[in-house]
């Protein structure tokens, strides 16, 4: 790693996957710089940013000329490139497969439904476009996802994929914090997930609160 330049992360901490990347970089003391891109100000649609990522999405990672998008790809890349503790993305195939299984499932489940709740509860009403029906549906879908997180992933383990924290927990926890922006704690009546969240927060030291500062400040 001698002479290796710091990686550059393009982030907007309002975005759940961006927070996961920042927490991972900080928690593992990976040398990095952060370039803030404000989605609300349309900074992800500038010609400059589009050149970097034509998908106009965040997060983006740049490692000495190598540009990578998609938070789970970024996290897996960093976990391997920087030789972080094994529990994040275990080398043993059966343990790794559990993390890969969660990160695949995450897209159309945790991420999709949380994003929908955030859109309909926080973003659209602020643009004068509330849709209570869609919010109800999103909350109902999210409820189903939370049931699955508890019963199929967490079960009787300390963390989603094993008894140790992994990339899966990091991605999931950042999502589950998002509805706090709209003043809603979706884990309120779910003691199992509440204690999981505490465990995750404790494992992540200051980096968790630092990344979520924006969420705490947005809480109504």
């Amino acid at each position: 790693m001698a002479g290796r330049q710091a990686v550059k992360a393009y982030l907007d901490l309002v975005s759940q996957p961006c927070r996961a990347v920042l927490i991972f970089l900080k928690d593992n003391k990976i040398p990095h710089t952060v370039e803030s891109i404000a989605i609300q100000k349309g900074q992800h649609k500038t010609p400059e940013f589009i050149k970097l990522n034509p998908m106009q999405k965040l997060p983006v990672l740049e490692d000495n000329g190598f540009v990578l998008t998609e938070s789970d790809a970024i996290l897996k890349y960093l976990a391997t490139a920087y030789n972080v503790p094994d529990h994040w993305y275990p080398k043993l195939p059966e343990k790794r497969a559990r993390v890969d299984e969660y990160t695949a499932w995450h897209h159309e489940n945790t991420h999709m439904h949380i994003s929908s709740v955030f859109l309909h509860e926080f973003l659209l009403p602020r643009m004068g476009l509330p849709n209570p029906e869609m919010l109800e549906k999103a909350l109902s879908d999210l409820d189903g996802t939370l049931d699955k997180l508890e019963n199929m992933f967490l079960k009787r383990q300390a963390f989603l994929c094993s008894d140790d924290i992994s990339l899966a927990d990091l991605l999931a926890v950042c999502e589950l914090m998002q509805p706090l922006c709209g003043g809603r704690d979706i884990l309120k009546n779910r003691p199992k997930l509440l204690s999981w969240r505490s465990r995750v927060q404790s494992s992540l030291s200051d980096s968790f609160d630092e990344a979520h500062d924006i969420v705490y400040r947005m809480r109504i």
Partner: protein, 242 residues
């Protein structure tokens, strides 16, 4: 140690796992599940995958779902050729990047077209509003444009000169609307050329065999008992039409 793989080749992620294992001569016990029969809700299958989704594997005592995770696991356990899931960090990251992106883009939009254009109206007898169909086609078109611009560019395959899991997952998803009679490759020469390359790399016979169930769907639906899909109807309508 025996490897059981639960598949219904109507399903895109099942096809990618099927093609991957066959192409790499990985011996497995092919457990056929017919999604339209609702047999994924049976007690036996519930022990393999509580989520009741396909594909699923059981290797000894180890059960796993999610096609992407399954193929990464099998690639490692059966030491498949490196190009499928390269050890090189940056090439692997490119594969992961595509596999991640496709979940909420090509996969969803391609899937919708098959359900909206064929299965919901013809197999379930429920009309789909034209607006929804048009939106699905537009979204799919948008995804294909992004696919060509960002992932394929001017390379023969997504990661470069060789086929990988990214191409395999992409091709089975992009084929899905063909099952509804949509000519996905019309006016898309670059995409067609890539598909032909992928089909050749996989082996035309294996590719065609894997897609047979999908491509005969339009015919099969004509003789399908409409009541057959009744158990699935509420879930499907809620997921796609609400």
């Amino acid at each position: 140690m025996s490897l059981e793989i639960y598949l219904d080749l109507f399903s895109q992620p099942c096809r990618s796992v099927y093609i991957f294992t066959k192409k790499n001569n990985i011996q497995f016990d092919h457990k056929k599940i017919t999604l339209f029969d609702g047999s994924q809700y049976g007690e036996e299958f519930g022990k393999i995958n509580v989520l009741r989704k396909l594909p699923a594997i059981k290797y000894g005592d180890f059960c796993l779902a999610e096609s992407v995770a399954i193929m990464m696991y099998l690639a490692e356990k059966f030491h498949t050729p490196d190009h499928w899931y390269p050890a090189d960090l940056q090439k692997r990251a490119r594969v992961n990047e595509y596999l991640s992106w496709q979940h909420s883009s090509i996969r969803i939009h391609g899937s919708r077209i098959l359900w909206f254009n064929l299965l919901i109206p013809k197999a379930m007898g429920v009309e789909v509003p034209k607006e929804k169909i048009d939106n699905a086609v537009e979204d799919f078109d948008g995804s294909l444009k992004l696919f060509e611009m960002k992932f394929l560019q001017d390379k023969p395959f997504i990661v470069g000169d060789q086929i990988s899991l990214a191409d395999l997952v992409a091709v089975v998803e992009i084929m899905q609307p063909v099952g509804a009679g949509m000519d996905v490759f019309e006016n898309r020469p670059k995409l067609k050329a890539w598909k032909d390359r992928v089909r050749e790399e996989i082996g035309a016979e294996l590719f065609d065999e894997a897609h047979q169930a999908l491509l005969s769907l339009q015919e099969d639906v004509k003789t399908m008992d409409p009541k057959k899909m009744d158990p699935l109807k509420p879930k499907v309508l809620k997921y796609f039409l609400s």
